[in-house]
């Protein structure tokens, strides 16, 4: 009975080899093997249980996270896990913790901005977690505008030290994860002042807490900034507030790879090019895009399985009702999200390649592709995180009422995911950066300078401004070249239109500001083109496994055509396609949904997520939803007693009309 698979029939209809698709999704056999092994390891260890997370008070929750982090580290050491395995383990533990910032921001900051000596001193300590670090950039008053930070680091030549200070309330560091309760050290960003001169914002390694008793060092005030969105979710993290009252650190703790302060207090630029720092940013954003495909695929997996289990309406002659996955509205909301998950997976993979490419070029002192790589990663970070946040919430709604229960897993997934739209660059601010780069690219088109990488299509702007889409039948929309050209034409025309409109304004800066809402739309069009084109490129590769490529082709078409439908206005207003062609795209979309339908469950099985990782009663692999929903409900602390706490004080007097005399 326990072994019954309620989705078995759904799995039988798949027209492709799921095991092969799992490897495509993972990226390689090796990554699949590691992920599979480590995810099972985590799932089978009761210490990593997470189903009670949303019921814990903040303090219990946080202590629980500390326990898991310590246990994870213990297992990593005991099992002698490789770096790759260790990071997968943290991933599958699936709980934001100080370790994310330690490994994901503190260590990379020292690697990227520290000198060789600094790296040799600090990294071994960090690698063994003899110190725990965080990344303290944002302040109460400044986030997006890093150059506006107010914390100061004043060089004191007398003592060869920097004096770190928080001159105002708004200069308090605010938000750094891991800061509030755990970190012993931080990379602190502060304005460097030498001899009364302001050299702008630089990074400094600052010890925050005593390694003996964990108390903040003299002059340092630290706390947690309080509850955040959702229960469980990001509240496992101690995002913190930090103030310095003239705290002294040795000069050697300024991160000096790119610029230095000498013993005499002279400010110097090293011969290491500043741009090197951007390499790290490409790396971090690539991780964020990968995370987007992961969060999105989780939500889609839950909603897809539940949609196959849930039946509502349409029973005929007392037979079973219709599975809600069979309603076209459900498909038109859910299947594009499935396709998007795959699309983001592949663009994430490509970004990994881009990072390697950029790194190699930087090492060879070739900075030519950097601005394009920078714009491209900024845009993809923005696009993928915004879409994913919305998509998780859409998946929750697709589950009807039950999606609103924490046991569905979706509320927590949303709450924990959504700050990705804000951290590492507010998504609107990032799109404005992309737009700025696009305007520059357009303005240089006449100059003979060929646009590179993801903007290469702009080189064909003359063609793209006047080409005509030659779709005549719905099936024509299945041709990759047709789709690509439509997306290129739309993106190019939107950018060019913006550039023209700006040029009509009295001055370009004011024009850019005035037209920024349109510019953001042009940037989105550009980014969507990148994703579409990388999906198409992926399909030009050899992809083994029965029926696998065919399924991916269906998904690629669904991704592109559903975007086209959603942004019809762009395509039509730029004349990139005609209303008739838009309508044909929509017809084609419907038949693609019909093609995807029998494969829907297998396509989410291909993510290879354990029930532990999914953390959702609705998304269970076996589809045995109702008994488990019922079981979960009774675990709520409110059900500890049949008559609730407060009955005698508040309910009984009400019912008995004795409130007047009650003391409340």
């Amino acid at each position: 009975m326990e072994e019954l698979d309620y989705l078995a029939d759904e799995r039988k209809t798949a027209q492709f080899d799921v095991e092969s698709m799992k490897i495509v999704w993972a990226g390689s056999q090796h990554v699949f093997d590691v992920s599979d092994r480590i995810s099972r390891l985590v799932a089978s260890d009761p210490a990593f249980r997470k189903d009670n997370r949303t019921m814990l008070s903040r303090k219990e929750l946080f202590k629980n996270t500390l326990r898991k982090a310590a246990h994870a580290w213990k297992r990593i050491i005991e099992l002698r896990l490789s770096e790759e395995e260790a990071s997968k383990l943290r991933f599958y533990v699936d709980e934001p913790a100080f370790t994310d910032l330690h490994w994901g921001m503190f260590v990379p900051a020292i690697k990227g901005q520290g000198t060789k000596e600094q790296q040799e001193k600090w990294l071994p300590l960090a690698y063994k977690m003899q110190i725990i670090g965080c990344y303290a950039q944002t302040e109460l008053g400044h986030g997006s505008n890093v150059q506006g930070l107010e914390t100061t680091a004043t060089f004191d030549p007398e003592s060869d030290e920097f004096v770190i200070n928080s001159p105002t309330l708004t200069s308090s560091k605010w938000w750094p994860g891991g800061l509030g309760k755990v970190s012993t050290h931080a990379v602190v960003y502060a304005r460097l002042l030498t001899d009364g001169q302001d050299h702008g914002v630089h990074g400094f390694i600052v010890q925050l807490r005593s390694l003996d008793d964990h108390l903040p060092l003299p002059g340092i005030t630290i706390g947690d900034i309080g509850m955040k969105f959702g229960n469980g979710a990001y509240n496992t993290m101690d995002n913190g507030v930090l103030q310095f009252d003239h705290v002294r650190i040795p000069r050697s703790q300024m991160l000096m790879r790119v610029s230095q302060v000498t013993r005499e207090g002279k400010y110097l630029q090293s011969d290491v090019p500043r741009q090197l720092v951007y390499g790290t940013m490409v790396y971090v954003r690539q991780t964020i895009v990968a995370d987007a495909s992961c969060a999105l695929s989780r939500a889609v997996c839950i909603a897809m399985r539940y949609s196959a289990v849930r039946r509502q309406f349409g029973s005929q002659n007392g037979g079973p009702e219709t599975q809600v996955i069979d309603y076209k509205t459900q498909q038109s909301r859910l299947f594009p999200l499935l396709a998007t998950a795959y699309a983001y997976r592949f663009v994430g993979e490509w970004l990994k390649w881009l990072y390697t490419d950029v790194t190699e070029r930087l090492q060879a002192n070739d900075f030519s592709t950097l601005p394009e790589a920078h714009a491209c990663t900024a845009g993809l970070k923005s696009l993928t995180t915004s879409t994913t946040a919305d998509a998780i919430e859409e998946c929750r709604k697709l589950c009807g009422g039950h999606g609103y229960l924490c046991s569905s897993g979706l509320p927590e997934l949303f709450a924990v995911y959504v700050p990705a739209c804000t951290y590492e660059g507010d998504n609107t601010v990032l799109l404005l950066q992309v737009a700025r780069f696009l305007m520059k690219t357009v303005s240089q088109l006449g100059s003979g300078k060929q646009p590179v990488g993801t903007t290469a299509y702009m080189g064909r702007v003359e063609h793209l401004m006047q080409c005509r889409c030659d779709v005549q039948r719905a099936e024509d929309w299945l041709k990759p070249s047709v789709v690509l050209e439509a997306f290129e034409a739309r993106a190019a025309r939107m950018s060019v239109a913006c550039a023209q409109n700006i040029s009509k304004m009295p001055n370009p800066e004011a024009g850019f500001a005035e037209l920024s809402p349109d510019l953001v739309e042009a940037a989105v069009a550009h980014c969507q083109l990148i994703v579409v084109s990388k999906f198409i490129e992926k399909l030009q590769q050899d992809i083994p496994g029965k029926g696998v490529k065919m399924q991916l082709q269906v998904l690629c078409s669904i991704y592109a055509l559903s975007l086209l439908h959603k942004h019809q206005g762009d395509f039509l207003s730029t004349g990139s396609i005609t209303p008739k062609q838009a309508s044909l795209a929509n017809d084609q979309l419907r038949s693609l949904y019909a093609q995807a339908r029998p494969n829907a469950i297998a396509l989410v099985d291909s993510f290879n997520y354990t029930d532990h990782f999914l953390g959702s009663v609705l998304g269970r692999y076996d589809g045995n939803v109702y008994p488990k929903l019922y079981e979960e409900a009774w675990k709520d602390p409110l059900n500890d007693s049949v008559v609730p706490d407060g009955y005698h004080e508040y309910i009984r007097p009400l019912l008995k009309q004795q409130l007047r005399t009650a003391r409340l």
Copy 2:
């Protein structure tokens, strides 16, 4: 110092009389007075404090809600509040509680579906809260499909009783608010069985708990269904699960206004028309639309004030940075939401009128407008709740990082609001009902039957199918008639196109199902037209107060043109406007933003919300955001101690490399 108003400069730039606008927003001087008085009463009573809500455990939270509900009732009695005042008081207490269902569903169900005798017996008990009731319709297995409910009520002629039973796990009642821990009674929906015959779903009054000791009566199992989305939020409500094991109730407890079971077990229809029941639905949905404008305006008020306080980038010569409200991207995201809040307010007001109208007609046995009223309210419920949920989240993002903190108020507002998209009819299911009505309307166009009410425009379908928008300059888009015609043409053409496409299909039912995603889009277009047209109608009235009407005209244009921009694809694909005209609308929109800018803060002040009701540090009236954010942070229980619980067990061993031997 405490009295400083950081937004004073913003308030000075307003070009209209805020006090007059407050009355327009409230609906009348009387409603304004009551709201103003009661909201201050609640705000000044420490018993109604809510700033600690997100930090409480489920049990504490729930007990706290019981206390507030009892206190509210006590105050209502002590102050001899009228029904209107009492309901305002519950509204401003701003915490979901069993009382919502008691007053909002249980009482109306008895009023609407009970006979005169039943009303005389039960309503006095309910009015005094000598019994507390809930509305038990949804089951674990059925929500949207009410006709599929599985709970049975079998008439036993021997004892003149109904036997209420839950034959399966999925027949467990699941979701009813107030059920889990508080209600003594419920209106239970069950399939009526007499003499082996199934008469479909009917309502029954069932006592659930003993009035002596609050224990569930024999044969009844009740519990809470567990944590829901967010902290605080809807977790103050005891949504419950309920199972019946052959529970007997007297025959007199079937709600018999519309159909009856006689002593002999005969099933009869009364001469009261079935349609009467729909009156209640119009009423409930009107409330939901009003709630949407309220939730949306709260979120907009918070984001607007914070956007005027928050400065980021653009400092020149050391001067202050730019207020983020001055960025056009911020305006283009936020101002349309402000306009939408007003638009929904006015359409809500109109729905109140519609309810009265429908009620009067029903009393005069005129059912002719009922289908239209039904479709219209279904559509507006769906449109306003979906938009509002998305808008709250957009407002949260507009506040950058700080919007993610619970102290911003926005996470809880989102979590508590979002189920409105699901309860009282899943929004997609509702739009499909609207679409069905639209298709019927189109099919009858030839027949001479004139479409009524909000579908009256369909009567001019011939004109609308071929009319041409004659906008030539951006300002032409300020003409209400031009805007209205464009929205009518778009809606009519989308409906007609759907009807034509359906007629090409082998059969209409399959065609409707196949094309349902397009039908949903046509339904949305229709509903948006209703909102636009009611806003325009409102402006045809006399509106007193300096500059008030002028501001509302700006908002009306922003509402319509931002919708037009967002749904450009619809307008262009139907040929309702040209690309050039779409672009002119966009130009006009930009200058409308500039006109709204100096009035932005005054326009949210006009909602007249107290800081207590807003519940947001970022939305404070005085704009004194930073010190208060800082103050709130320290209240988190994690800050009770400098060194966190768990340091000795989990952090210290990690830092000291002693994990191997630690017991975790």
